[in-house]
């Protein structure tokens, strides 16, 4: 009888040890899972860049195209394509080259992948720069009114 009581006490001790180990492991796992810091800066930068890039690009005055803004050049590109710049390029080519220069000196320099699209409808693409984002992205679309419908300028910042 006395021996049975002793073995019962030992089993209770063993059970307590097991419970303590389980609690300890739960703590370890919990702390290990919550290890990664939240990347606030990346989230902010992506959203801010997508919006500011298009906003600034559209406001930018061309260097040698009668002082026209990028918005005006893109509008002409979507409408009559009647504007020719001092260097002989049409509005579409000039706008595309200017956008490419700007993206090369900004997003590509900062090693940020992007896709820049100018289109009337999804199937009526005027030009595109960069490459399609493979996974998540932050998008910004600016509509520009033209006489032949609405022109859309879209920038996807990948990451």
């Amino acid at each position: 009888m006395r021996l049975q009581k002793k073995s019962q006490t030992e089993i209770i001790g063993l059970a307590i040890v097991v419970i303590l180990l389980v609690i300890g492991m739960a703590f370890v796992i919990r702390f290990m899972i919550d290890k990664e810091p939240v990347d606030y800066k990346k989230q902010f930068t992506q959203a801010e860049i997508a919006s500011n890039m298009i906003n600034t690009l559209l406001k930018t005055t061309s260097q040698d195209c009668s002082g026209l803004s990028m918005t005006e050049l893109l509008q002409d590109c979507a409408q009559s394509q009647g504007i020719f710049c001092q260097n002989g390029e049409g509005s579409c080519i000039y706008a595309q080259n200017t956008a490419q220069t700007i993206f090369t000196n900004t997003l590509e320099l900062w090693k940020i992948d992007y896709e820049f699209k100018v289109f009337k409808q999804e199937e009526n693409l005027i030009f595109t720069l960069g490459s399609r984002c493979p996974a998540s992205k932050k998008s910004k679309t600016f509509p520009i009114p033209t006489s032949s419908g609405t022109l859309f300028i879209k920038l996807d910042v990948c990451g």
Binding site: K41, N52, M53, N55, T60, Q63, T98, I102, N105
Partner: protein
């Protein structure tokens, strides 16, 4: 009988020793996790500071474009920028409260990529971490009425 008691005493001591070793290991492990968490929190706070400073810098009233008291978003007046880049470095203590240990640089990307202004330069000689935030921004020249494409680069330092 005496010997049995000695063995039992030895057993108790061994159990206590193992128990204390486990407690010490637990404390060491917990301290390490706590240290890691503090590092993560520090990183997150620094990221939030970087965002805050870049937003403050991009909306400094000393630089903002305005017409008839209406402020244009995401735009820097070049005349204001030229004056501010001379005045702000002379009053770094005043700006420290809002811009902390950082360096704010504004560079023109298009059309002239050789122009650059250092707006604020209060850096740490020895730092453990540096966060760089680039914000595309429009540079408006009120004399020629033209907009250039610029980038505001905010570098935040921490010990």
């Amino acid at each position: 009988m005496k010997r049995k008691a000695q063995i039992q005493m030895l057993e108790t001591m061994a159990v206590l020793l193992i128990f204390f070793i486990l407690i010490v290991l637990g404390i060491v492990f917990y301290t390490n996790i706590l240290k890691g968490n503090i590092g993560i929190q520090k990183e997150e706070v620094m990221q939030l500071n970087a965002i805050e400073i870049s937003q403050r810098a991009s909306s400094l009233p000393e630089l903002q474009c305005s017409e008839e008291n209406i402020v244009s978003e995401n735009c820097i007046d070049l005349l204001k920028l030229q004056s501010a880049s001379e005045i702000i470095p002379l009053n770094e203590v005043f700006y420290y409260d809002s811009l902390l240990f950082s360096k704010i640089n504004i560079t023109e990307v298009y059309p002239d990529n050789s122009r650059s202004w250092v707006l604020y330069n209060h850096t740490l000689e020895e730092f453990s971490n540096k966060i760089v935030t680039n914000i595309p921004i429009s540079l408006f020249d009120p004399v020629t009425n033209k907009n250039s494409f610029g980038v505001m680069s905010v570098e935040l330092f921490s010990r």
